[in-house]
């Protein structure tokens, strides 16, 4: 007699992760290489200023919303920030997750207590629901929404929810919930290179390009 939940957990930790890693790492590197090798159209106009430094600066300045935009779309901006920061804290500062990076890359950084992790997770989940709400109720946003958007929202929600349930042993067998949590993360990893999740990596390039192009023209970015 074997414990079927543990078999599932071991599949998720071995085969499942290998598959997800290939698609995740391979896919991201593939797309980034494409972006770099494709390059940009040469600008034959004489440069008015240094595009490089403005490009680098823009990577950071774009994180601050422009004047009036937050008032215009508060849920989008605030919900977006709460979700991203909450997800970031819950992912990067929970000790079992840090253990993965230690094993993979030999890195280490301190972890925070469970209260902070759980609060971040809960806030991130609430923010996601708020974002979904505005997306569905605003006719313009609704019209712009594609399958990609719904898929990514669901795949971002699942790891947060399953992780919370697994750590708190809310429902079901703990081994099963841990397996489901790891599987949901693997789904996210697999979908990553094919969806708008790529923004997590490509935002650096996009912001740099915009900043560099405008900077070269001597315009604001």
């Amino acid at each position: 007699m074997n414990n079927p939940y543990f078999d599932l957990l071991m599949w998720a930790r071995e085969t499942g992760f290998n598959i997800a890693l290939i698609i995740f790492a391979g896919g991201i590197v593939l797309r980034l290489t494409e972006i770099l090798v494709l390059g940009r159209k040469k600008d034959f106009a004489p440069a008015k200023a240094n595009g490089f430094s403005q490009g680098i600066k823009t990577i950071f300045t774009r994180s601050v919303p422009r004047k009036g935009v937050v008032k215009f779309a508060p849920v989008t901006y605030l919900g977006g920030y709460v979700f991203h920061i909450g997800f970031f804290i819950a992912f990067f500062f929970f000790a079992p997750h840090i253990a993965i990076f230690t094993d993979m890359l030999g890195l280490w950084w301190p972890s925070v207590g469970r209260v902070i992790i759980e609060s971040s997770t809960a806030l991130a989940v609430l923010a996601l629901f708020a974002l979904l709400y505005t997306r569905l109720t605003d006719p313009v946003r609704r019209a712009l929404t594609t399958f990609d958007d719904y898929l990514v929202l669901l795949l971002s929600l699942l790891p947060l929810v399953t992780g919370y349930i697994a750590v708190n042993k809310l429902i079901g067998d703990p081994t099963l919930m841990l397996a489901l949590h790891i599987l949901s993360v693997e789904l996210l990893m697999i979908a990553f290179p094919f969806t708008k999740l790529m923004h997590a990596v490509s935002f650096v390039f996009a912001r740099y390009y915009n900043g560099a192009i405008q900077g070269r023209k001597g315009a604001e970015s």
Partner: protein, 362 residues
């Protein structure tokens, strides 16, 4: 066979007073994880129940389970449990050997057919009966023969319950647990490598007094395997605060912080080690500074390594990851260069068009 003395008679013979008997029953209630107010009930049941015949079969095992259950200074609970049962067959403990021993077993089976308790430790090899034989009888045969007349079967240790060490990859003997073979008798799995002595005796005591205990989906008594180590671990406050030992000799280890990062399987392991502990409540692996191995779960030998944390991928992912990155760069570069080449071709093939061309009939 002579009429067997009742437990209470035995205690009187040993000069143990009623107080002593009550102390013993209070200890039993604690061991069985029952409310202490049930001690009088236990006393009543023990006084009035006849001593059942117990046949203990040892198959592919290391004898650790027997060592564990007998690691006691007499007279303690374990010793008295053995006095409460009639242990009619046990390789390590019996005086008889050879044909005499087998004859004793067969006599006990015949005299108590349908009523004796069969205790098994060690796994059963299915590949080749010759891998493990006793008195010329293969383990498989002996198990089937003896199980036929048993009232209940107790699989002691992870080997008998789930296959244990012999069952670990690549399982060269085809070892399996008892419940894989016997399907028509009530089986209580008491896993552990070895199980805690008081857990083993607690299950036997429960069998004597109240019959078969409540079992979980893996056939383990819920009283002893209902909660995980993680939920009862005294180092849990450190897990919750985010304080972990990173190595076996670092500051965290010395301060007794959580061992999750050293591979502790506490969160996925159900056992009472954290409360009942070992050696009469002295300590348990985590308290001694070593992460839990998860030895009450099936296949614990193959669950990704004892020192790999539960959250960390267990496969050989590094090489695969590097290969994926390399392939990604290669394919990405090729695809981008192909795009650029086709862009250049399109630019070359570009024809200037003016308004008159557009009016030409196509």
């Amino acid at each position: 066979m002579a009429k067997k003395p009742m437990l209470s008679d035995l205690m009187k013979e040993h000069g143990i007073s009623r107080r002593g008997f009550m102390k013993y029953c209070a200890g039993l209630a604690s061991v069985m994880a029952l409310s202490p107010s049930m001690a009088p009930q236990i006393a009543h049941a023990l006084e009035n129940a006849p001593r059942p015949s117990v046949i203990w079969l040892s198959f592919q095992e290391c004898t650790g389970c027997t060592e564990s259950i007998t690691r006691s200074h007499a007279p303690t609970l374990e010793d008295l449990i053995f006095n409460a049962v009639s242990l009619d067959y046990h390789h390590t403990l019996q005086a008889a050997s050879g044909h005499a021993a087998e004859a004793a077993r067969e006599a006990a089976m015949k005299a108590n057919y349908g009523k004796y308790v069969l205790v098994v430790d060690g796994s059963i090899p299915l590949d080749e009966p010759g891998y493990s034989c006793i008195a010329g009888i293969s383990n498989l045969e002996m198990l089937k023969q003896t199980a036929a007349g048993a009232a209940a079967i107790v699989s002691v240790g992870t080997c008998a319950a789930f296959g244990g060490i012999p069952h670990a990859d690549p399982n060269p003997t085809g070892a399996v647990g008892v419940s894989h073979i016997i399907k028509d008798k009530p089986i209580i799995n008491v896993p552990g490598c070895p199980p805690i002595p008081v857990v083993m005796t607690g299950v036997l005591a429960h069998l004597l007094t109240f019959g078969i205990p409540d079992l979980d989906e893996l056939g383990r008594p819920k009283a002893f395997f209902g909660e995980s180590i993680h939920d009862r671990c005294y180092r849990r406050p450190f897990y919750d605060k985010g304080l972990f030992a990173e190595g076996f000799d670092d500051e965290g280890a010395r301060k007794g912080w959580c061992l999750y990062k050293l591979g502790c399987k506490g969160p996925t392991t159900k056992s009472v080690c954290a409360t009942t502990k070992w050696n009469n409540g002295t300590s348990f692996p985590i308290e001694a500074g070593h992460p839990c191995l998860g030895c009450t779960e099936p296949d614990f030998w193959d669950n990704g390594g004892f020192y790999k944390p539960l959250s960390v991928p267990a496969g050989d992912y590094r090489k695969i990851g590097l290969a994926a990155v390399g392939a990604g760069v290669a394919i990405g570069a090729v695809s981008a260069l192909v795009s650029r080449a086709s862009k250049k071709k399109a630019a070359k093939a570009h024809e200037a068009v003016d308004a008159h061309d557009l009016e030409k009939p196509s």
